[in-house]
Assembly symmetry: C3
Homo-oligomer: 133 residues x 3
Amino acid sequence: MPFTRISILKGKSPDQIRAIADGVHHALVEAFKAPLKDRFQIIEQRTAETLIYDKDYLGIERTDDLVVVHITAGRWRDTAQKQALYRIICERLSVDAQVRPEDVLVYLTLNDKDDWSFGNGIASYVPNDASPS
Amino acid sequence: MPFTRISILKGKSPDQIRAIADGVHHALVEAFKAPLKDRFQIIEQRTAETLIYDKDYLGIERTDDLVVVHITAGRWRDTAQKQALYRIICERLSVDAQVRPEDVLVYLTLNDKDDWSFGNGIASYVPNDASPS
Amino acid sequence: MPFTRISILKGKSPDQIRAIADGVHHALVEAFKAPLKDRFQIIEQRTAETLIYDKDYLGIERTDDLVVVHITAGRWRDTAQKQALYRIICERLSVDAQVRPEDVLVYLTLNDKDDWSFGNGIASYVPNDASPS
């Protein structure tokens, strides 16, 4: 159920991009208990003029290696799970994709069980009654 | 009030893309009672490396014809309306755009009446009092 | 904490694009009291076929100069602050970027304090306890 949009500056190799996407998904599996197969991701590669970021907001030194991770997921996670998610994403991106923890920005948009249809025209996470609107 | 972002892989014809966009909007009009003129849509055409999807999550067989539909809309719809939305999107995309129902992924982000301004610097769906912040 | 995605049609100059991005950020600082350094923005430049809009929904005459502003921000703003935001964005874009108020569409997605990590794997706006999930 998570849907992830990752935005980076152009210039990273396909291997590094794949490692970033893998790392984010791994963190969702570990921290949010997302099923391993529940993987849907978009990667945006942007020019410097179209990805504007502050270089030291909150005292964190960011570089052009910035990785912006926007995750849409169900709202039934608590603060501790979100904290674990942020921590594991940073660990994975640092170890597997050579991204500095300072360069990892994550934000979440949360929704509900009936906000997802993974195919066949059915709300995937609620009982399917055939009643039309 | 819905704002729709449709993400597909490159390679579809302009006619098929337009039929997909038309079909999604039609479903919003029918299931969510969106006004016919309330149509605002972005279509993203992506390379295979930048649109990652699982080929059989929840037992649904997806192909490179995958259509990801992300709709932002007001939260005053109930589960039955959402179910109708998913069903009608699939019907339309199947009939009008030759997209298999298995290849239609829809997810919703819901917000409130005061979260929309359609122009002129005014919150379009709440009474407009001139009080500044 | 706001994250802003601005979508426009191709053809605007880099100076005008920068003025649009500056104006939106200024409005967030003024109306939402966002810190000046809390600036993170993506600008999408789209072809006409991939940015579909209605030319007069709600009686507002839109042109290809349309600027779609999608802001993700914390939900602790009230309606008056949102109204101020829409008004100031339009003022700024009109004065500084020659965008007509009719061509400014803004919508908001709101989330919570623990939905943001600005780096280092930590939830930036909540107390950081080291408890793993």
